[in-house]
């Protein structure tokens, strides 16, 4: 009888344990939810004089003078804030807290989310050909875009650069009009975010949201409803927090959109829309490579998938011109008939057939394949987790993100130039015994995209955060090796990718040294 009771007690304990554990499972330690409110040490009040990317000058677009704080219209705006603050729900409070971590940070996170959502290669049609996403019908399968690594790198760059330019303009007008934040005008308006002496007209948060929305109309047209919902929540949070009045927000949104329109116009004509090529171009790539006496790349997918964005090398870079892309082209990879090539293929086979847990961890940590925010997004993630420790002003956040993402975009262009100029086969094509430890990308091997992206990003981040020592370079080296460990790249691909990525990163460093932000 006693034994029976003991067993029943044990079952009860197990059940209680199950309930307890189940309730605690939803806390998965998401870093992004733990970010503290942004409290810049230095508001970079001179940022209106920093060098923009596309704008001719900080005052290229006009922002009308705001109403004075002693006018009835402004009093009405304060009353709106007080109305909100009198009845804040828990949801409102958590919204204020979420957005207080910083507008550039949050919109970068949202963009990373959209990339992960849209980064899935299309499924084949009945006839074994692949459909292409269409920007004019973004909702039809396959939805637009297929946010693959080059597309994503470009998207991050456009949003970051436009955000930066728009904030440079905003800082100019903040200084010019010098209208204080509502919580500094009226002591009965509470500051539910860290107080700042930065003038609040136009709202920097609204500038970031406005610029991003405008670019996403071009880059992620199927996701505008989601994006608008986020923007509405963001703007409401800023008003509720006592940091902005509605006119601060409206002026900011308008400025952000005007500046972004300039980037949208550039994006429509930067040749990215034609980067997919066509069957004649795909055929010519094979013929050119065979004419050189080299084995040419082919898709190892079944059915064979056209190569990813073979004309991405023609896309207009941010940090240099298209001629420089050609000048930066790395020397040829080992010939497919050389002893060196054979040796490198054998090395890949070794890593394929001798995976260790440690190496697989490295492969998967850096894989950033289908369904993820891509290598460029991973480096944005890495940068963001460092930038939150620095208490940057919004404009410096934007400037640093722009430098990073312009480098990442251009790294993609330079790398894709090498890939389609040399058009050389993946290790598993050279030796079918080579099985891969992660998905095999559907484009040529030389040079490694991950290596190029990573070295470019590491070079920029090391310049921006010199106190981190070799941290970013070490990460880039690991990312480059991960592709060899994963058996999808030869050593030469990774080494050459690191070299050209660093060269691209140096252009961003040069810009950083001369943009007036130091």
């Amino acid at each position: 009888m006693k034994k029976n009771t003991t067993f029943k007690t044990a079952i009860l304990l197990v059940l209680a344990g199950l309930v307890f554990w189940s309730c605690n499972k939803s806390d998965i330690g998401d870093r992004s939810l733990a970010y503290k409110p942004l409290e810049p040490e230095n508001q970079d009040l001179n940022a209106g004089t920093w060098k923009p990317v596309l704008l001719a000058s900080a005052d290229e677009f006009e922002v009308a003078a705001p109403a004075a704080t002693n006018t009835p219209g402004y009093t009405a705006e304060l009353n709106e804030i007080k109305g909100f603050q009198g009845s804040l729900s828990d949801k409102d409070k958590s919204s204020i807290k979420y957005w207080s971590a910083g507008a550039v940070l949050r919109w970068n996170e949202i963009l990373r989310e959209l990339v992960a959502l849209r980064n899935i290669p299309p499924y084949q049609k009945e006839d074994d050909t692949y459909p292409a996403p269409s920007p004019t019908n973004p909702f039809a399968y396959p939805t637009f875009p297929f946010a693959n690594p080059p597309y994503a790198g470009r998207a991050y760059a456009y949003v970051s650069a436009a955000t930066y330019d728009a904030l440079v303009a905003a800082w100019h007008y903040k200084q010019l009009y010098n209208r204080a934040a509502p919580y500094n005008v009226d002591s009965s308006v509470q500051a539910l975010v860290p107080k700042s002496s930065l003038p609040s007209y136009p709202s920097e948060d609204a500038v970031v949201a406005g610029a991003t929305i405008e670019l996403l109309k071009l880059l992620f047209p199927a996701d505008l409803a989601y994006v608008q919902e986020k923007a509405d929540e963001h703007m409401r949070a800023r008003i509720m927090s006592g940091a902005n009045t509605r006119s601060d927000i409206e002026a900011g949104l308008a400025l952000g959109k005007m500046v972004a329109a300039k980037f949208v116009a550039r994006g429509r004509t930067d040749r990215a829309g034609q980067a997919g090529g066509n069957p004649e171009i795909w055929k010519a790539l094979e013929d050119n490579t065979m004419a050189k006496g080299e084995v040419c790349w082919f898709s190892l997918e079944t059915p064979r998938r056209p190569p990813m964005l073979p004309l991405f090398n023609k896309v207009k870079p941010f940090l240099f011109d298209s001629l420089t892309v050609i000048n930066m082209r790395p020397p040829p990879p080992p010939s497919t008939s050389s002893e060196q090539f054979k040796k490198e293929t054998e090395e890949v086979l070794y890593y394929s057939s001798h995976p260790t847990r440690e190496r697989v961890k490295i492969v998967h940590f850096w894989a950033d394949g289908a369904g993820t925010y891509t290598p460029a997004g991973h480096w944005d993630h890495i940068a963001a987790s460092e930038f939150v420790k620095e208490n940057y002003s919004e404009v410096r956040w934007a400037r640093n993100m722009a430098l990073l993402n312009m480098a990442l975009c251009d790294a993609g262009i330079v790398c894709w130039d090498a890939k389609y100029f040399y058009f050389n086969p993946r290790p598993s094509q050279s030796n079918p015994d080579i099985k891969t430890l992660t998905g095999l990308p559907n484009f040529p091997a030389y040079t490694s995209g991950h290596s190029t992206f990573s070295a470019a990003a590491a070079t920029v981040l090391t310049h921006l955060l010199p106190d981190r020592g070799t941290k970013f370079d070490d990460m880039a080296t690991e990312a480059a090796l991960s592709r060899l460990y994963g058996a999808i790249h030869y050593r030469s691909d990774s080494e050459a990718g690191l070299v050209s990525g660093k060269a691209v990163g140096e252009y961003a460093v040069q810009r950083a040294l001369t943009d007036g932000a130091n």
Binding site: K3, F7, V14, I120, P121, P122, Y123, P303, F365, A370
Partner: protein
């Protein structure tokens, strides 16, 4: 994706399982080895059924050791520990292999009623926990060897036997712990900036009926298992450990006790997936050999079933 079957309901690499109404007598030990072969070429991507010519046929093989011991006539404990190896016949993705999870089970016969017509009704409670034995990779579906989740489940089982025919029904709730993956960010239906994945719990029910005699058990099996939550694989995306995973399966199993070699039992079975979601349409075959001994008397018991 078939990993589901090893995770929300670990392989029954055992002469006695946590889903049947068999118990060992006090002090009887049963140990043995089991082989499982599970394969599929078609799978459900959400509700869309497809094949994948970049995977071909996905096969998971499992070589397990398992055992059971009668602490009392009413209370048995069991264990199993498999080595698992995966392979795809097409595409470039490498298979993985390694030692998977240790499962420990306790089965308790809580009540038994014998009727005047000779039939018998028994009620069992079964507890089961499993823990990964190695640091294997979870986030490599469908070719990872398991989910790397710690699980705990509780099952109620009712068995009714008339003469040599029986019917059993059981249902279980399985708690599955969150798992850590090698990435620092991943997308489910939204992005998560962490390496921890929230795993949905799982549930299953199972109905068996057939013939049960001193030397032979032969049964038909219907089982339905499903996660309580989880999300669908998006079109042409990769599967993920916290996917919704459901499988409705039918099959059969037998256990034969050798008359000539006292204490030796042979088991085998087959299961087929009728319908599923985010899992492969798997055919699973298993076979095993087990040996029984009475630790106290040193005798070899005739078989693993208690005499009525």
């Amino acid at each position: 994706m078939i990993m589901l079957l090893y995770c929300i309901s670990s392989p029954r690499a055992n002469a006695q399982t946590d889903m049947d109404a068999i118990t060992l007598k006090k002090n009887v030990l049963c140990v043995g080895g089991m082989y499982v072969n599970d394969s599929w070429t078609e799978y459900w991507e959400g509700t869309f059924k497809r094949n994948n010519r970049n995977l071909g046929k996905v096969t998971t093989q499992m070589f397990g050791i398992a055992g059971a011991y009668g602490i009392t006539d009413k209370l048995n404990v069991m264990f199993s520990a498999p080595y698992v190896k995966t392979k795809a016949t097409a595409g470039t993705l490498s298979g993985f292999d390694g030692i998977q999870d240790l499962a420990l089970m306790a089965k308790y016969r809580a009540a038994e009623k014998k009727f005047t017509n000779g039939s018998r009704l028994s009620v069992f409670a079964v507890g089961r926990i499993s823990v990964p034995l190695t640091n294997y990779v979870a986030d490599y579906l469908p070719l990872s060897i398991g989910m790397h989740s710690k699980t705990a489940s509780i099952r109620g089982l009712v068995d009714y036997q008339v003469s040599k025919f029986f019917v059993s029904a059981s249902a279980a709730y399985t708690y599955r712990s969150n798992v850590d993956i090698d990435r620092e960010s991943y997308y489910t239906t939204e992005i998560h900036n962490t390496n921890e994945v929230e795993m949905p719990d799982a549930s299953d029910y199972n109905i068996r009926a057939g013939y049960r005699s001193k030397y032979l058990i032969a049964e038909a099996i219907f089982s339905d298992m499903y996660t309580l939550g989880g999300f669908d694989i998006r079109k042409n995306d990769m599967p993920f450990p916290s996917n919704k995973m459901n499988a409705r399966r039918i099959g059969g199993a037998f256990k034969y006790t050798m008359k000539k070699v006292r204490g030796l039992e042979i088991v085998g079975g087959a299961m087929y997936t009728l319908h599923g979601r985010n899992v492969g349409q798997a055919t699973t075959l298993n076979a095993g050999v087990f040996y029984l001994m009475d630790l106290k008397s040193g005798n070899r018991p005739r078989n693993s079933q208690q005499q009525n």
